[in-house]
């Protein structure tokens, strides 16, 4: 059931994120249907150009990797030999024991690397959604506010104001969070790409894209970037200091995000207690896997909006909310 609903949920999120752009153009008197079609055609043209560019870049990076692979391997062997010497010098171990320890460590790493393709295969259904999501999202975007207006029309007339109140609160909480996350993902992608290029790390674009995409799950972006980028730097240069430079880069990006971006985003975003934030992430991951991690915070935002609206209704009905300003003592002049 989850797999059937996944593309629809992703498409709804896709349309929801793009909707403000369409609404902005609509506020200038343009027709929604034409705007959406025009937007899709433009995106298609840009996508095809990007594909052409990325294809050549990917081929170039693959050729580069193929050409440099023997050198990288030599680097790793050199590093392993150096570590063996160090290990035998520092510890009172016979050379064959040190060799065995290193073989076990490197063998474990290679085993993990061999498992990587099977992990990648689990992402294939998500790649299939990459075509399906914009297709379904097209219809969501086309309908736009008509769907909401239809719901309002169906709602019993006396509860229309309450229904709009609820929708409005969810829209505020969810919209600000999703737009904030997208801003962070874009900033992390650009910053990590520039940083990796400056550090002369190979496959900078792939690592930057991976880091940016991972940052859709809170806190994951910088960690993935540091791990993959650091691994790449170590593989490429064969030194720990190169890997540490990349790790430092991603720590810097994470700090810059926390200092410069988060205050701006959080100003308009929903405020979740860090414990609630973590609980949502753990529950989401546990119940729905990667998709759960992706949608845990938006779901928590909706839940928080529901609680806030329910409390607002209850307090208004019971007269608990603050009333009108009392200026009765002063005559009108």
């Amino acid at each position: 059931m989850t797999s059937v609903l996944t593309p629809f949920i992703l498409a709804a999120a896709f349309a929801y994120i793009l909707n403000p752009l369409v609404t902005y153009c609509e506020a200038r008197g343009l027709r929604r249907a034409q705007l959406v079609v025009f937007g899709y055609l433009t995106a298609l043209a840009l996508g095809m150009s990007a594909y052409a560019g990325l294809k050549s870049l990917a081929v170039y990076e693959a050729e580069l990797l193929q050409a440099r692979a023997p050198a990288y391997l030599k680097q790793v062997q050199k590093f392993a030999a150096a570590q063996q010497i160090q290990l035998t010098k520092k510890l009172p171990l016979p050379p064959h024991v040190a060799q065995q320890a290193l073989d076990t460590a490197i063998g474990g790493l290679f085993d993990k690397l061999q498992e990587l393709p099977s992990h990648l295969f689990t992402l294939l259904p998500l790649l299939a959604h990459m075509l399906l999501v914009p297709f379904i999202g097209f219809f969501f975007l086309l309908d736009g506010p008509d769907g909401i207006e239809g719901l309002i029309q169906l709602c019993p007339s006396r509860f229309v104001e309450q229904a709009i109140h609820l929708l409005s609160e969810i829209d505020t909480a969810l919209g600000n969070y999703l737009r904030g996350v997208l801003i962070v993902a874009t900033a992390i992608t650009i910053a990590s790409f520039l940083g990796l290029v400056l550090l002369d790390v190979d496959n900078a674009i792939v690592i930057a894209l991976l880091s940016g995409a991972s940052s859709l799950v809170p806190y994951l972006g910088a960690a993935v970037g540091a791990l993959v980028g650091g691994g790449m730097a170590f593989y490429q240069f064969g030194t720990f200091s190169a890997a540490m430079k990349v790790v430092a880069l991603f720590v810097g990006i994470r700090l810059a995000d926390e200092i410069f971006l988060q205050p701006v985003i959080a100003k308009h975003s929903v405020h979740l207690h860090p414990m609630a934030f973590l609980l949502a992430l753990i529950l989401g991951g546990e119940l729905f896997g990667f998709m759960g991690l992706l949608f845990a915070i938006p779901a928590a935002c909706i839940l928080k909006a529901l609680v806030q609206v329910s409390w607002s209704w209850y307090s208004s009905e019971r007269g608990l909310a603050l009333g009108a300003a009392d200026g009765s003592g002063v005559p009108y002049t």
Partner: protein, 168 residues
């Protein structure tokens, strides 16, 4: 030239222009610029009501301003005898429930559609968003609301003075 015109016609939404024209004709929005009205149209919700359908009930918590585009709405209030007494009949172009934009307090009257009616709703949080995002629009609307309330208060003061002097 004609091709350009037909392309423009293909892109421009006539329904949107009609809504803007309607809003411009209202006292509360008359000072808004063309672009501002566009943002306002995007912020409005619409709903159609059948004859006799209740828009809101006296005592309900108000959260939106209603603008009557077509049809008719009667405002009634429960009197001391418990029966609803007619207060006012609204015609197209009138707006009501504006106090909800300032405070979330119970409605002081019941609004009922007297015929097939089309209403636009400006929800409080949308106005708040306009106040922050497009301050010109929010300030213009708030300024009109303040003038409206001031006029009502002044009229009420005059009425009360008249009643007091009659009693004396």
């Amino acid at each position: 030239m004609s091709a350009l015109k037909s392309l423009k016609r293909w892109f421009i939404d006539p329904n949107f222009s009609r809504k803007k024209q309607f809003l411009r004709s209202l006292e509360i929005f008359k000072d808004l610029r063309d672009g501002d009205l566009g943002h306002l149209v995007a912020a409005l919700h619409s709903r159609s009501y059948r004859e006799g359908e209740v828009v809101f009930v006296e005592g309900d918590i108000g959260r939106a301003l209603f603008i009557l585009e077509s049809g008719g709405v009667d405002l009634t209030r429960h009197g001391a005898d418990g029966k609803p007494a007619p207060l006012y009949s609204l015609k197209p172009g009138d707006f009501f429930g504006e106090m909800a934009l300032l405070e979330s307090l119970p409605r002081t009257a019941t609004a009922t559609a007297t015929q097939k009616t089309h209403l636009h709703l400006l929800y409080k949080s949308k106005l708040d968003a306009l106040l922050h995002g497009e301050p010109r629009i929010g300030v213009t609307i708030m300024s009109h609301l303040a003038r409206l309330l001031s006029a009502r208060l002044r009229r009420m003061n005059v009425d009360r003075t008249l009643v007091t002097s009659k009693n004396d």
